[in-house]
Symmetry: C2
């Protein structure tokens, strides 16, 4: 059961909070404080103050607590959960500690006893054996990095905490914002499927439209199917990695999370029926998510706009080889556009406005595409820097058009090494990007041809 | 004709050198100086000193010059080339300027006149319309970034300068060193095929073993086939992107470099016959290059060693789906290894030594794989950080084993955002890595199953 206290706690207690930020109980407090969450309590019998916050000796010393995060040895968890649920009116608990069902029968019994206490007291339980939760209210994870969190970001649920970290890495490096991240760990009470059910049952027009899933084992395929389908029918897009489907991968998943992974074919069928876009790994998941966060592409005709021929040629090949079109652009308006660019530019598509082309040229090109080129459904701008001119004005121009134009504008930045600063700056203003034109082209085709469910 | 003066010039003159490093003539001087090349001359009628170097008014004022780099308007190039060839005994010229055969008939005629002068005087000509050359002697490019240059690095030839920059970006971010980079531009005298011929004709046991190619049009397929095949028979590995092969891509390539691109099938056949590994784009090219720079993989049995389950599961799936094996590891030595790791670790393959596992654990695991696990041909270590502990000791351990072990050890670092500094540090010591386990798995299978030519 996902409770409001889990998502918007009025106060939070970290049990086992530490001054050592190389420990989960230290890092999670740092992350919560870095996120400017104010109403934080700490329990640690060995400390009087933790990271500037008064530290309580015992959980019993705490006031009523909405959300408690447990960073203590597994064998101490049950008593603390009981104390919190029965005496502190706690309605949400995150247990990051490991040592439960993932290590064997004894851990499984302990885990179940904790679930029983939570269930009896209508308390949400995330974990154990997870990195925690990120919401727009608090950074409740002990592992980083922390992505940009905003209302229109992505909802993400994962059965593997470390994998979540590595997916967040890739997302941050491409400017993708999140609305929430659920690391469910062993999913003792709340599973991946339960989170999807919650998203569906609480969906309204202000809810995030893009949902991402990393899952190694589908425990309840019927629930996943029902609520994914329902969300997609309401206008959501869902992309997922389901790993552990090869024979060897299934053995690997079983060792990792104790999951019994289903066959590859079964997963494919389930995802197709639900309308979920299946991804192979972290990089593809993030590329697909970046496309889904953009405006919807309504046809397969793509314009490529670039200052560097090669990547434009490679993207043209990739799109063509994946049943997308890069149609020829000509006619009076094309001639008019060409006349406004530097001599030697090409507007035939790819539109190559040369290494010396300016942000104003790009602005003109994107305006012509949006207003006059009816045979184009979306635009891929490939623009980085070869280390001579700063591309910041071009980045601003691309962002403006991606927000304002009626057709989607995607940005491939092939120079993440040299333009790291400019990328960070433009991401802060709401931009997102891709870095490999080939990966982008494949992802775009995959999204465009994803089965539309009725 | 590639001359020794092009590769190891005793002195260099930049014609059109500038104090403005946002201009090619300024940036190229900065790059040459940053590379600690000392014997540099500059010609610019408007300056007396350029970036701390005495500036000559005219080319005629120069002493004898081995290599000249021209960063001046196209219509001034012919006279300067004549002066250099006829009066300065110059045996190598790089023309970065554009405005030649790529813009039309007039430029083509001008370009040919320059080639004729060079040919008559046994002078190598790189370009025009290129970013220049990188060798272990000098950084003769006006566009960055500059990769690590060393004798055992990669030889790289490209028909597109901007694409080269973006390939170098990706290579630098994965620690891949280069021995030379040839941006041939229009290839007026020296084409991509000529560079390959030179590599073949001058091959000896100290030559770099890995060659990369970016090409949009194969002007001389017979030359490419002959010398690529010969190089591969001598023990080289060659990977290439040939773009512009779809119908739309061919139009794009034609607009970009005036190339008449061949059909996809013809390119495939040519590459297969030559033994060249064909890549789809920049990211795949660099992943393949990173694998080729490692020891040769002699069988398809891979061990996966990780502290984070999820990426291990995804890599297992990818390898299995691409005809590689992730064999079960068991027996007395496996039990012995397991006893040396933390409780809860798995050695069944993937070998999961847990988030809390140490560099010493990894050292032990890799030693066991190298010495005792005969059913393993190569190892993929997936290890980054979730932001809590610095992974520098693990990186050192992985580097040590990748250098010393008899079997190849590949390293996937899934945390390039959080471990940027540690990655830069370990790259400086000779390490290289991958960042996406799925892309790595596909690239490894592609290299392993690349057609062996006789």
């Amino acid at each position: 059961m996902i409770t409001n206290e889990l998502l918007n706690p009025k106060n939070i207690a970290v049990i086992g909070g530490s001054n050592d930020i190389t420990k989960p109980g230290g890092k999670i407090i740092k992350n919560i404080l870095d996120g400017n969450y104010k109403n934080l309590f700490v329990v640690n019998p060995k400390e009087t103050e933790v990271q500037g916050i008064k530290c309580h000796k015992n959980t019993s010393d705490l006031p009523q607590i909405d959300l408690a995060i447990l960073c203590i040895a597994c064998n101490h968890c049950e008593a603390i959960v009981k104390e919190l649920c029965e005496n502190k009116n706690t309605k949400a608990i995150i247990i990051v500690s490991a040592g439960f069902s993932e290590v064997g029968e004894e851990g499984k019994i302990l885990e179940q006893r904790i679930v029983d206490i939570c269930n009896k007291n209508n308390c949400a339980l995330i974990g154990p054996n997870c990195i925690g939760m990120l919401t727009q209210t608090y950074n409740g994870v002990f592992a980083g990095p922390i992505p940009k969190l905003e209302k229109t970001g992505i909802d993400f649920v994962t059965s593997s905490g470390a994998t979540a970290c590595f997916i967040l890495e890739e997302a941050i490096m491409h400017g993708v914002p999140f609305a929430s991240v659920y690391s469910v760990g062993n999913g003792a009470q709340i599973s991946v499927e339960d989170v999807i059910e919650y998203w569906d049952n609480n969906y309204n027009e202000t809810s995030p439209k893009v949902k991402l899933i990393y899952i190694e084992s589908v425990g309840n395929p019927q629930k996943l199917l029902k609520h994914s389908r329902s969300l997609i029918q309401k206008g959501c897009k869902i992309a997922a990695v389901k790993s552990g489907t090869s024979d060897a991968g299934s053995r690997a998943a079983s060792s990792h999370t104790g999951a019994l992974a289903g066959s590859d074919t079964a997963v494919d069928a389930l995802f197709k029926k639900a309308g979920i876009i299946r991804c192979e790994g972290r990089f593809e998941l993030v590329a697909i998510a970046t496309i889904l966060q953009n405006k919807q592409l309504k046809g397969n005709n793509i314009a490529i706009v670039t200052h560097a021929g090669g990547p434009g040629v490679m993207l043209t090949d990739t799109l063509s080889n994946n049943a997308m079109n890069v149609p020829h652009i000509d006619g009076a308006k094309a001639d008019e556009l060409k006349a406004k660019l530097y001599n030697g530019s090409s507007v035939a598509n790819p539109i190559d406005f040369l290494a010396t082309g300016t942000a104003e040229h790009l602005d003109t090109i994107l305006t012509y595409i949006d207003k006059y080129f009816d045979n184009i459904d979306g635009t891929a701008v490939i623009y980085g820097t070869a280390g001579i001119i700063s591309p910041d004005k071009v980045f601003e121009t691309t962002l403006k058009h991606s927000k304002e134009d009626s057709k989607p504008v995607y940005h491939i930045i092939p120079s993440p090494y040299l333009t790291q600063k400019e990328m960070t700056d433009i991401f802060a203003k709401g931009h997102s990007c891709f870095t490999d034109e080939v990966a982008f082209g494949k992802a775009l085709a995959k999204v465009y041809y994803a089965k539309k469910i009725k």
